[in-house]
Structures are given as C-alpha cells and as structure tokens.
C-alpha cells in the first residue's frame, strides 16, 4: 500500500503490534521542518501586507481610532474627570493616554477575526488548507500583521498624546507598556480568530466582538478611575484585564505601583493564549 518503503519503525511496531498491522499501515506523515514553518509564515505575512497596500482603507481604524479617542476623551471628559482626579485636563491626559494604549491592544485584536472570516468565505482558505503547510502558519501570519497594525495605532496614539500634553518621562517604561499591550492583544487575537472560524460571516464576528469588548472596556479603569463605581463593579474592574493592563501601563509610563497589575495582566495573557490558541488551531484544522 505504502508509496515509499519506509525504513523507519512505525508506531505499531514500536508498540509491538502484530506484524500484519504494519504491512497495511502507510508510512507516517512527514513532519514540516521549522524552516518550512518560517518560510510559509513569511510568505503569508507578505500576502497580508500586500492586502494593506492594495486596500489602504483597511488601515483607517488603526490611524483614526487613536486620534478620535484621544481628542474625544481629553476635550470632552478631560476637564470634569480631571477635576475628580484633583487636577484638570492636563492631569487627565496623563491618566487616559496609558488607558487608551490598553484599549488599542484590545480593539485592534478584533479586526483579525473579520479578515479571517472573509478568507474562509472566499475560498482562499480552502486553497491554503490543500497545500502542504502547517495549519498554524496561516494564523501566525495573521497575528503578526495585526500586531504591526496595533503598533501603528500605538505610535499615532503617542504622537497625538504628546500633542495634547502627555509627558513621556520614562522611555524604558513606555516600551515595556507597549510590549505588555501587544502581548495581551495577541492573546485576544486567538479569541477573535476562533470566532472568525466558527461564525458564519464578518458581521457576526464584529457583533460578538463588541458584545465582549464593551463591558470590558467601560467596566474598567481605562477612561475613568473606578473609585466612584459601585462595589460589585469595582470587584469586576479589579480583575478586568483591561483595567490591570491600563494601570500597569500607567505605572510604567507615568509612575506608581506596577507589580500587581503587571502580574495579573500577564496571568490573563498566558491563560487566554493557553486556552484559546489550541482551540483556534483545532477549529481551523477541522473546519469543513
């Protein structure tokens, strides 16, 4: 039966199964070497970048979201929330820019699911899946490009932030905060990739995304300090990863306690990735 007489021991032989079983069992499938994985992921990253070049409008969200949100929160809510913080608008800028950094990490993750879903509906995914590539390559390439988009959004956020008065005092802390936001964002991407695979169309992916994101976003310390929230909500915000990410970013960028928020955020990141990455890859493999 086997195409190539294989000198390697099959698993059945190793387990001491009857010799007849090994005669009819074809040689085991060849694994893909690491270099192959890297080559495939690289080729797919190139494809995703060409998408952006072909369709520059797909960068609108990365460019506009940080501008709109920064201006909106600083100029609309900045005065009153700043007063509550014991200062004014300037005080609020220092508060909200790290918060928005956390939000970028989250919002940019959502786009990964919708793009992925479109690939499935167009049939391109069938072609990829009929090629001898690791199934993970397609997902990793998607995440890599999405992280790049996230970095663009963060860079714009920082530029706008500085323009409205944000002081960058600690460059090392800033880099650490960006890295933390990217790490947490990439863990969320596995969630959205899974939604992209299992939901029927891009609209439902977006709908589900908002459903998850809205409470996380507003039940957090991203835009306003949670001290005035009711106790049950504060309990939620205490462990809401978006809060801890925002607070950790604040500590790193502006100063203040970092350790607890940093660890809770990293804990969430590891937990979400460990649970969702295998699910995403599995759903991707078995999607019919």
């Amino acid at each position: 039966m086997s195409a190539h007489p294989s000198p390697t021991t099959t698993r059945d032989e190793a387990l001491g199964a009857a010799p007849s079983a090994t005669v009819t069992t074809p040689a085991a499938d060849t694994p893909i070497p690491l270099r192959g994985h890297l080559r495939h992921t690289g080729a797919l990253i190139r494809r995703n970048l060409l998408w952006i070049r072909q369709d520059p409008e797909s960068m609108f969200d990365a460019v506009l979201m940080p501008i709109v949100f920064t201006l909106l929160f600083v100029y609309v809510f900045g005065g009153s929330i700043g007063q509550a913080l014991g200062g004014g608008q300037d005080e609020y800028v220092q508060y909200v820019v790290p918060g928005l950094l956390a939000m970028m990490g989250m919002n940019m993750a959502m786009g990964v699911g919708t793009g992925f879903n479109q690939d499935f509906n167009s049939g391109v995914m069938d072609r990829f899946r009929s090629l001898p590539i690791g199934r993970g390559s397609v997902l990793f390439a998607k995440i890599a490009v999405e992280l790049l988009r996230m970095l663009v959004a963060v860079a714009i956020l920082l530029v706008v932030g500085v323009l409205v008065g944000f002081d960058i005092t600690n460059w090392g802390g800033l880099l650490a905060a960006v890295a933390l936001a990217a790490a947490f964002g990439s863990s969320l991407m596995w969630v959205f990739l899974t939604l992209g695979v299992i939901l029927k169309n891009a609209q439902s992916v977006q709908g589900m995304g908002f459903l998850v994101l809205m409470p996380l976003q507003f039940g957090s310390s991203v835009f306003a300090p949670p001290q005035s929230m009711p106790g049950w909500l504060q309990a939620f915000t205490d462990y809401n990863p978006l809060s801890t990410l925002a607070d950790a970013a604040r500590g790193l960028m502006v100063g203040g306690p970092v350790a607890r928020d940093l660890w809770v955020t990293l804990g969430w990141t590891v937990l979400i990735t460990a649970v969702m990455a295998p699910i995403a890859i599995r759903k991707f493999k078995t999607k019919s």
Binding site: H4, Q54, P132, S288
Partner: protein
C-alpha cells in the same frame, strides 16, 4: 515533486467504500472509484449528489466517516501532508486571492510549496505566460474577467506540477465562450499527462474532457465506464426534428415509433417547440429518420442533434430524474453562498 506509486502501477486515485454523513444526510454513501494515471475521470451528477464532498475528502479538507482513499499512493487520512504535495485543486471554492495581483497569487503558492524564491518567481512568470495572463500580471485578480480568474485558478493549481488535478465544476457559472476557453486549457493540461478528476453537472462537459465517467446520485455511484459505453447505454444522441407543419408533429412521432428507428428510449414530442425527439445511436439512424420523413411526405424545417442532458442520462440509467438538491448539507449551504 511528482511521485507515483510504483506498486499500484497505473492507478492514480483509489477510493473504496467512502462514507460521509452530515447528520441525517448521506453526502457519500459508500463510493468506489478508480482513476488511472494520465486519464480524465468525469464524475457526473446533480447538485447535492456528493461530488464536492468527494473532492474535499480527496484534497484532505474533510475527513471521511468510513472507507479508504489514496491519491498517488498516499492515504488521505494518514498522510495528508505528502498527499497535498502531489495534488492541485481548482473549483467552485478553492479560489484565488482577489486582492492580490495575479503574479503575487502564483508566487505565494510557489513559496507555500517550498520553491526557493528564484524558482517561485520563474514559475509564476512561466505560468502567467502559459495561461495568457502576462499582461494582467500586476493587476489585482478582482479586476479580472470570469474567464481570466478561472485561468489564474488553473495556473495556481499547476504550480507544484501536481500528479493529480481536481477540477470541481470548473465551468459552472461561466458563459459559453469562456467555458470553451477553460475547456481548451484543461485539454492542454491533460495533453501534458496530468491525471484529472473532474466533477460536473453537464454531460457535454464530461464528453469534451473525460475519457471515463462515474455517474453519482445521492452519494452513490449508479454507473461507471468509458464515456462511449455510457453514451451508448443512454441512447447516444438525441435527434430533434421539426416538421414545417405543426399538425404533422404527432403523425411523424407515431410513424417513427412504428419504424423502430430509435435508440433505447422511445420518441417524445415537445409540443412547446414543435419538435419530435428521437434518441439515436448512429449516423445511419439519423439518415433513416430523415428519409422516413421524406417517405411520409412531411417537410422538415429543422434537424439538430443534442447530447443527452443530465436528466435524460439519469432517466435511462436509473428510471428516475436527477434528484433535486437534497436537504441542505453544509456543502450545499456553501454552494448557495458561492453562486
């Protein structure tokens, strides 16, 4: 890159008792199939017959519930990666990336098939040239016409020099001219010696491209054999004769029935178009029909021959019409989206 199973000799695809269920629906209900190396096997059947499910299993996109299938000696379940290296897939779904230019589409697939950069570039250029797409190489595939897109699709499936090529309804939804264009390309590819498994709903397409035919219905093989053999079985061609005087329609049909100049089926009358349909097996019978009309003094205003439709093929093979699209299977749902 092309590897052929030496031990299996000349069989490129072997399918044994393949079963795939979607809940209650049996998409494949014990399918056996063999495709010899270098031939074109046509799989003919209506929507929902299980054709696409078969192709998806043979290209490792779907796992079978039972049965076995090997392609170029590789088992679809146990050796999916090696199998993917020797197949090419073109069809209703496996499609090109519309946002990428034609060249980038081909280069991407070359890289995913582990060609070195230089070779992937050369292969992309070569295939664009071969499928007459060089001028459109830099344009996004979204700007291509339907025919150009299918050609790019065919080119993409040829990058890895596959031993076996699956064409899943390659001309569904194309206008007749574009359809002929695609047929010509497929014939050229076959001329190069590639083994093809073609699924289609059209007898005409099967006749144009396939040397052997497997007719499927509701997940089962209902007939298999050489295309001439099956054509003879279903009555070869259908002769459509139109008397100048519509009143002579029925007398003509009756006279032809009495003369017994028919294939396996009897004559039928198409009152809407004012014609008599006569299944025939040979040119001699065609001539006999015409001279019978002359003998009766009936003037004919037109005579044409047609290949039997899928419905007629089914009618003569199974005694019932081609089944209407079955309960929506996941495959069917996707078809509706794609069309």
């Amino acid at each position: 890159m092309t590897r052929i199973d030496k031990q299996n000799g000349t069989t490129a695809v072997t399918v044994r008792g393949l079963v795939k269920h979607y809940g209650e629906t049996k998409a494949l209900d014990g399918v056996d199939l063999e495709v010899r190396e270098g031939t074109v096997m046509g799989v003919l059947g209506p929507n929902g017959a299980g054709k696409t499910t078969l192709v998806r299993i043979l290209s490792t996109l779907l796992a079978p519930d039972a049965g076995q299938a090997t392609v170029a000696g590789y088992d679809v379940v146990r050796q999916p990666r090696q199998l993917r290296r020797v197949i090419g897939l073109t069809g209703q779904y496996a499609s090109v990336d519309e946002k990428l230019p034609g060249w980038e589409n081909l280069y991407l697939i070359g890289r995913l098939l582990d060609l070195p950069r230089k070779d992937a570039r050369a292969r992309a250029d070569e295939l664009l040239e071969r499928f007459s797409l060089t001028d459109a190489a830099k344009r996004p595939a979204a700007t291509y016409s339907g025919g150009m897109r299918r050609r790019l699709d065919l080119a993409a499936s040829m990058i890895g020099r596959p031993a076996v090529l699956y064409l899943d309804e390659p001309t569904t939804g194309l206008d007749p001219r574009t359809r002929n264009e695609v047929w010509d390309e497929v014939k050229r590819m076959v001329g190069d010696g590639v083994t093809v498994l073609l699924t289609t709903q059209y007898m005409e397409e099967a006749e144009q491209l396939a040397s052997e035919l497997t007719v499927v219905d509701r997940g089962k093989v209902i007939a298999t054999g050489g295309i001439e053999e099956l054509k003879a079985k279903v009555g070869g061609r259908t002769l459509r004769v139109k008397p100048a005087d519509p009143l002579q329609l029925r007398p003509l049909a009756r006279a032809l029935d009495d003369l017994g100049i028919t294939g396996l089926a009897t004559t039928t009358v198409d009152t809407e178009r004012g014609t008599v349909l006569v299944p025939i097996l040979s040119d001699e019978q065609l001539t006999a029909v015409v001279s019978a009309a002359v003998g009766l003094g009936i003037t004919l205003s037109s005579v044409s021959t047609e290949l039997p439709s899928l419905d007629e093929v089914f009618l003569s093979l199974t005694g019932h019409r081609a089944s209407a699209p079955q309960d929506a299977t996941p495959t069917d749902a996707r078809q509706e989206v794609a069309v």
